[in-house]
């Protein structure tokens, strides 16, 4: 009885250690890989208008994309040929399933293309410094 209990306890302890090692190795490697992705991807500056269309995801709505990329909603809805009525709260995936069920990824690709085309021109980092015009020296 005592030996059996000891065996059970030993099995639990060994399982805990093995599981701990496996979790640490697996998630440690993944965390390290995720950390490496931060290289050159620091936080974007405040008030920056998003310009990278590769960050557009299927769960996003047209309204959200319009606000984030500062592209009028109408332009996006026109490009995908969908009426804005009743479509504001739908994700790109839902819009694709509802309007283009046989064209996989059509809405996503079209939205990316129209955002890239219509987004406002990039803002300069700082306002141009006013340069005062040199005064002509008074004639002697």
């Amino acid at each position: 009885m005592f030996a059996q209990k000891n065996l059970k306890q030993r099995a639990i302890i060994i399982s805990l250690i093995i599981l701990g090692v496996l979790f640490t190795a697996f998630f440690g490697m993944r965390a390290f890989r995720a950390l490496k992705k931060f290289d050159g991807h620091g936080p974007p500056p405040r008030e920056k208008v998003e310009t990278d269309v590769e960050l557009i995801r299927e769960w996003m709505t047209v309204s959200f994309i319009s606000k984030t990329y500062r592209v009028p909603e109408k332009e996006i809805f026109d490009a995908i040929k969908v009426s804005p009525l009743g479509s504001h709260d739908k994700s790109l995936k839902e819009l694709n399933n509802d309007y283009y069920p046989d064209k996989d990824g059509f809405v996503m690709d079209t939205v990316k293309a129209v955002v890239l085309e219509k987004q406002p021109p990039p803002q300069p980092d700082s306002a141009p410094t006013a340069v005062s015009t040199p005064k002509t020296p008074a004639a002697p």
Partner: protein, 198 residues
């Protein structure tokens, strides 16, 4: 699942965050951490109002935790009948009572995978509710402010933060399991040595 909820957070704002964190605290796989990080990013982009998102999210999470504590509390009789006389259970309950504050606080934001078992054990081991609530509130606040803050800081790059945090949580869980296993092995060896000496 979490993609569906992200769309709904954009559409319905803070009340939906409260609902998601409530469901997450009850153990439903709604991707609560993704939503908290994304909500931080949405606040930075001007889509969400951050003070109300924090407040409603916190209320939802704490209500969910309180309910799972309650489940543990009302299942106490069954647990006592089933395991009450087992020395391992008594030992585990005592050990939990000694470290409950840290266990509750850390499982809210650092080792979230074991948050629900912790709530159930806290409820089932007659851990004082007012103490549970205090540590729970502090832990959930840390979770929302830390994860949401990182989302806010990284804005549209928030997916990088989530990728790292989800794996880091698993890494901490692994280290905790390993540490606990080594401690148990050490205790077991000590007991064996004592038994041999006597």
């Amino acid at each position: 699942m979490s993609e569906f909820f992200l769309t709904q957070v954009i559409n319905f704002g803070a009340p939906l965050i409260g609902l998601i964190l409530f469901l997450g605290a009850l153990g439903f796989p709604v991707g609560a951490s993704v939503v908290v990080i994304a909500a931080g990013a949405f606040s930075q982009q001007g889509i969400l109002d951050w003070p109300s998102a924090i407040l409603i999210g916190l209320i939802g999470a704490v209500i969910g935790d309180t309910l799972s504590y309650g489940i543990g509390h009302y299942a106490k009789d069954w647990t006592q009948q089933r395991f009450g006389t087992s020395p391992a259970w008594i030992n585990a309950s005592q050990s939990f009572q000694n470290n409950a504050g840290w266990a509750i606080y850390l499982t809210r934001w650092l080792i979230t995978a074991v948050a629900i078992p912790t709530n159930l054990i806290a409820g089932g081991s007659e851990y004082k509710f007012s103490h549970f609530l205090l540590y729970d509130l502090t832990g959930e606040f840390t979770w929302i402010v830390l994860y949401g803050g990182l989302g806010y800081w990284f804005g549209s790059e928030w997916e990088l933060v989530y990728d790292f945090i989800s794996n880091f949580g698993g890494l901490v869980l692994g280290i905790a399991l390993l540490g606990f296993g080594i401690k148990q092995a050490w205790n077991w060896q000590e007991k064996k040595k004592q038994a041999l000496e006597t």
